[in-house]
C-alpha cells in the first residue's frame, strides 16, 4: 500500500520537475510561500489565541485570497490550457492578477485594524 503511494509521489515529483516550465515553477514557489505563511498564521491562532480576532482573519484571508489568485494566474498562463482561455493573453492574466490583488489588499488593510 505504502509502496504504491511512494511510487505515485516519486513519479509525480519526477514528472513535475521535468515537464513543468520554469515560469510555472516560479508561480508554484510563490504559491508554496503563501501556503506556508497562511499555515503559520493559523498555527499561531491555535496555539496562542484569537486576540485580536480581526487581525488574524485579515491575515489569514489575505493568504487565502492571494493563494487563490495565484492559482488563477497559474491556470491562465499554463500553455496547456490555452484552448480554454483563447481571449485572455498571459499579459492580460497578469494584469487581472494585479488588479484583484489591489482590491484584496485594500480590504485586508481595512480589516486588519
Amino acid at each position: 500500500m505504502s509502496n504504491s503511494v511512494i511510487s505515485v509521489i516519486s513519479r509525480f515529483l519526477e514528472e513535475y520537475t521535468t515537464k513543468t516550465s520554469n515560469k510555472l515553477k516560479v508561480v508554484d514557489a510563490y504559491l508554496f510561500y503563501i501556503l506556508l505563511t497562511g499555515a503559520l498564521q493559523f498555527l499561531y491562532c491555535l496555539l496562542v489565541g484569537t486576540f485580536p480576532f480581526n487581525s488574524f482573519l485579515a491575515g489569514f484571508i489575505s493568504c487565502v485570497g492571494a493563494f487563490i489568485l495565484g492559482v488563477c494566474l497559474r491556470i491562465q498562463i499554463n500553455p496547456d490550457n490555452k484552448g480554454d482561455f483563447l481571449s485572455i493573453s498571459q499579459e492580460r492574466a497578469f494584469a487581472d492578477f494585479l488588479l484583484a490583488h489591489t482590491v484584496l489588499h485594500l480590504v485586508v488593510i481595512n480589516f486588519i485594524g
Partner: protein, 668 residues
C-alpha cells in the same frame, strides 16, 4: 387611463360624496349633542364656588375707604361704598372736596362730581347754563361712548333734561364704530339713564351679543378676556338695564353662576376702579328683579353628633347678607355608604337668621350623608338646589376585651383575662414559640350600642429596650367581633426574633369617631427560639450612607507575552526567505527588465500603491485611500498596460520568428 365619465358628471359625483359625508357628520354630531344634553341634564346643577364672605366685603370696603386724591378716586370710593351700603368716613369733607375739585368745563369732571354728590346726602354741585350746554354738546355721534355716558349720567344726576331718542341714536352709531366690550358695556350703562319710553330694544339686544363673547373656562368661569373689571361692569350694566327696561336678561342660570364665580373669585383687588366694579356687580346681583344667586353654606364644619345634634346652615346672597324671604328644605338625605334615604322633604327652622335642623332626631348611624337642600320663597333665586356632605360622628367604646395565651396544640386550657378600658391588665402575658397570644374585643357605638367597624384598628407592640415597634391590624369577623392572634413562631421575622417585654397598645380611629382610642392594654413577654440578636436594629443602618461602588473599567484583554509574539512574527516572515531561495534556485531573474519609461513608471506606481496600503494602515481612512489609489492606480494602469502590450508584442514577435525558423528548417 382616460376616465370615461365626463367632467361635469365627475363634479356631480364628488359633490354627492361631499354632501353624503356632510350629512353623516351632521347626523353624528346631532346624536353626539343629544347624548351630551342628556348627560348635562342628568348632571348636577352648577352652584357658585365663590362669593364675597363678610370679611371679603370688609376688605372691599376698606380698599374703597382709602383716602382719595382726585375726583375719579373720590367717585369710585363714594359710589362704591354706597353700593355696598356703607358711606365714606366724613361726608361733609367729601362734599367739600368734590366742590373744590370740580372743573365745570370738563365732562369727566362734571360726571364724577355729579355722580358722587348724588351718593352723599345733602350734597349739591352747583351748575350753570354753560355746564348744561357743554354736557349736551358731548352727546353726539362724534364723541366716544364713554363721553356720551358721562355726559348723560351727569345730566341725569344733576336733574337736567335730555333727549333720550337722540342719545339712543348716538349710541347706536357709536356702537357700530366702537365694537369692543367696554364700549358696548358703557352704552348699556348709558341706556339705564334714559327714559323708559325711549327705543331701548336695539341696545337690549346687545346684552345677548356681548354674553356670546364671554369665554367659558372649564364650565366654571365665564369672563371676558379683557379681564375682571370688564366682566363685572358687564354684569352691572346688564342687570341695571334689564331692571330699567323690565325685561329679563337673556342669561341662563348656569351662565349667571359662572359669571358670579368669575367676578368674585378674586379676593384682593389691584385698583380702586376694579374694587368699584366688583362692588357694583355685587350690588346688582343681590338686588335685581330677575336673578338673585343664593349661597348656602354651613356655619362651622358640617358635622353633627350626639353632643351637637343640630345642623346649622346659612342662606345668603353673594354679599353674605341673609335673604329675607327664604325657606330651606331638605329634599333628601342619603347615606353615602348604604345609599338608603334617611330624611326626605324636611323643612329647616329659622332662628336668628340661621337655619337649623335636628338631624340626630332621625337617628342616623354614624357616617357620611349626602344632603340635597332646596331654597324656596323667591322666584328670582338662582342655583337654589345645593348638595352638601354632612358627617355624623359618634363615640366608640371597647367592650369585652379578652386577652389570652393559647397553646398551639390546645392541650393546656387557655387563660383568659378580661380587661376594662382604660385600665391596664394586671399581670403580663407570656407567649413562647408553641403558644399563641390572642385578643378578642368588640367596638360599639357608645350612644346607640350598634357595632362599629372603624377604619383603623391596630395592635401595636413596642419593645421599650430596643425601640422596636411592630403593628398589626385587627380584623372583624362576620359578627363584627374583633379578633387578633399572634403566632409567635410565625411572626418572629417581624420581631427580628428579639425576645423581651413588649408593651401592647390598641389603636382605634376613624373620621367619624370623636374619641379615637390609644389604650395601653397589657405587657406581653415574647420568647423566640434561636435568637439571632442582631447587634443594632437593622433599620438604623438603612439610612446610613451605603458603601461606595467603584466603577470597574473594562479590563483590556490578556495579551500574549511579547516574546511569543516576536517569535511568531519572525516565523511568519521566514517563508519569504524560503521563497527568495526557491526563486534563485529556479533561476528567476530580472535580466529581461526593459528600462522603457512605461515599465519604470509601472513599477514605481505599483510600489507606490503598496506603500499607500501601509500608509492606509497607519494614518488614513478609506475615503482618503480610495482618492490616492484612484490617482496612483490609474497611472499605474496606463503604464502597465503599455508595458504589457510591449511585452506581448515582443513575445509574439519571438514566437513568430521561431515558427518562421522552424518552418524554414522543416521545409529544408
Amino acid at each position: 387611463m382616460i376616465p370615461n365619465v365626463s367632467f361635469p358628471q365627475r363634479c356631480v359625483n364628488s359633490i354627492a360624496h361631499v354632501s353624503w359625508l356632510a350629512s353623516f357628520l351632521a347626523g353624528s354630531s346631532s346624536v353626539f349633542c343629544l347624548v351630551l344634553l342628556t348627560v348635562a341634564l342628568g348632571a348636577q346643577a352648577l352652584t357658585p364656588s365663590h362669593h364675597l364672605s363678610l370679611s371679603d366685603v370688609e376688605r372691599l370696603k376698606g380698599l374703597l375707604s382709602q383716602p382719595f386724591t382726585d375726583l375719579a378716586s373720590a367717585y369710585y370710593s363714594i359710589v362704591g361704598l354706597s353700593k355696598l351700603g356703607a358711606a365714606v368716613a366724613d361726608e361733609n369733607d367729601a362734599c367739600q372736596f368734590l366742590k373744590a375739585q370740580l372743573d365745570p368745563m370738563s365732562v369727566d369732571s362734571l360726571f364724577f362730581a355729579a355722580e358722587a354728590s348724588q351718593a352723599i346726602a345733602d350734597c349739591e354741585v352747583s351748575i350753570s347754563n354753560e355746564t348744561r350746554d357743554i354736557l349736551l354738546a358731548a352727546v353726539s355721534e362724534d364723541s366716544t361712548v364713554t363721553q356720551i355716558f358721562r355726559a348723560v349720567s351727569a345730566l341725569s344726576s344733576l336733574g337736567l333734561p335730555l333727549a333720550s331718542q337722540e342719545v339712543v341714536a348716538a349710541l347706536v352709531a357709536r356702537i357700530a364704530k366702537e365694537d369692543n366690550v367696554l364700549a358696548i358695556t358703557t352704552a348699556l350703562q348709558t341706556a339705564t339713564r334714559l327714559s323708559q319710553q325711549a327705543e331701548l330694544g336695539g341696545i337690549l339686544e346687545e346684552i345677548e351679543d356681548l354674553a356670546a363673547r364671554l369665554d367659558d373656562l372649564g364650565g366654571v368661569y365665564l369672563q371676558f378676556e379683557e379681564g375682571l373689571e370688564a366682566t363685572a361692569l358687564f354684569v352691572t350694566a346688564a342687570y341695571t338695564l334689564s331692571d330699567h327696561a323690565d325685561t329679563e336678561p337673556p342669561l341662563k342660570e348656569d351662565q349667571v353662576i359662572q359669571l358670579v364665580n368669575s367676578v368674585f373669585s378674586k379676593k384682593s383687588w389691584d385698583s380702586r376702579s376694579e374694587a368699584f366694579s366688583v362692588a357694583c356687580a355685587a350690588a346688582a346681583l343681590s338686588s335685581n328683579r330677575f336673578h338673585v344667586p343664593v349661597i348656602v353654606s354651613t356655619q362651622g364644619p358640617a358635622t353633627v353628633s350626639h353632643s351637637q345634634p343640630i345642623l346649622h346652615l346659612l342662606v345668603t346672597d353673594i354679599l353674605s347678607n341673609p335673604l329675607a324671604s327664604a325657606n330651606l328644605l331638605v329634599e333628601s338625605a342619603q347615606a353615602v355608604a348604604s345609599k338608603s334615604v334617611v330624611l326626605s322633604q324636611a323643612p329647616f327652622s329659622l332662628r336668628d337668621g340661621i337655619f337649623e335642623l335636628n338631624f340626630m332626631a332621625s337617628q342616623p348611624a354614624s357616617g357620611y350623608y349626602q344632603f340635597t337642600v332646596a331654597v324656596t320663597g323667591d322666584s328670582r333665586l338662582v342655583a337654589n338646589q345645593v348638595e352638601l356632605k354632612v358627617k355624623v360622628s359618634t363615640e366608640v367604646a371597647v367592650t369585652n376585651m379578652d386577652l389570652s395565651v393559647v397553646d398551639k396544640d390546645q392541650s393546656i386550657g387557655t387563660k383568659t383575662s378580661r380587661v376594662d378600658y382604660p385600665f391596664k391588665a394586671k399581670g403580663s402575658f407570656t407567649a413562647d414559640s408553641h403558644q399563641n397570644f390572642a385578643m378578642n374585643f368588640q367596638l360599639v357605638d357608645a350612644n346607640t350600642g350598634v357595632e362599629l367597624t372603624p377604619h383603623q384598628t391596630f395592635v401595636r407592640f413596642h419593645n421599650q429596650k430596643t425601640g422596636q415597634e411592630v403593628v398589626f391590624v385587627a380584623e372583624p369577623d362576620s359578627k363584627n367581633l374583633y379578633k387578633f392572634e399572634l403566632d409567635t413562631a410565625e411572626r418572629k421575622s417581624e420581631f427580628d426574633s428579639m425576645s423581651g417585654t413588649y408593651v401592647l397598645h390598641l389603636i382605634v380611629g376613624d373620621a367619624t369617631l370623636e374619641n379615637p382610642i390609644l389604650w395601653n392594654v397589657a405587657d406581653v413577654v415574647l420568647k423566640f427560639l434561636d435568637e439571632e440578636a442582631p447587634a443594632a436594629i437593622q433599620s438604623k443602618t438603612l439610612y446610613m450612607p451605603k458603601p461606595d461602588i467603584q466603577h470597574l473599567f473594562r479590563e483590556p484583554e490578556k495579551k500574549p507575552p511579547t516574546v511569543v509574539s516576536n517569535t511568531f512574527t519572525a516565523l511568519v516572515l521566514s517563508p519569504f526567505l524560503l521563497l527568495l531561495i526557491l526563486w534563485f534556485k529556479l533561476g528567476a531573474n530580472i535580466s529581461n527588465f526593459s528600462l522603457s519609461p512605461s515599465s519604470v513608471l509601472f513599477h514605481v506606481g505599483h510600489a507606490c500603491m503598496l506603500g499607500l496600503m501601509y500608509v492606509y494602515w497607519t494614518h488614513l481612512n478609506m475615503f482618503q485611500t480610495l482618492k490616492y489609489l484612484a490617482i496612483i492606480g490609474s497611472l499605474t494602469f496606463l503604464a502597465g498596460n503599455r508595458m504589457l502590450a510591449q511585452k506581448a508584442v515582443k513575445r509574439y514577435g519571438q514566437s513568430s520568428t521561431l515558427t518562421f525558423f522552424t518552418r524554414r528548417t522543416c521545409e529544408n
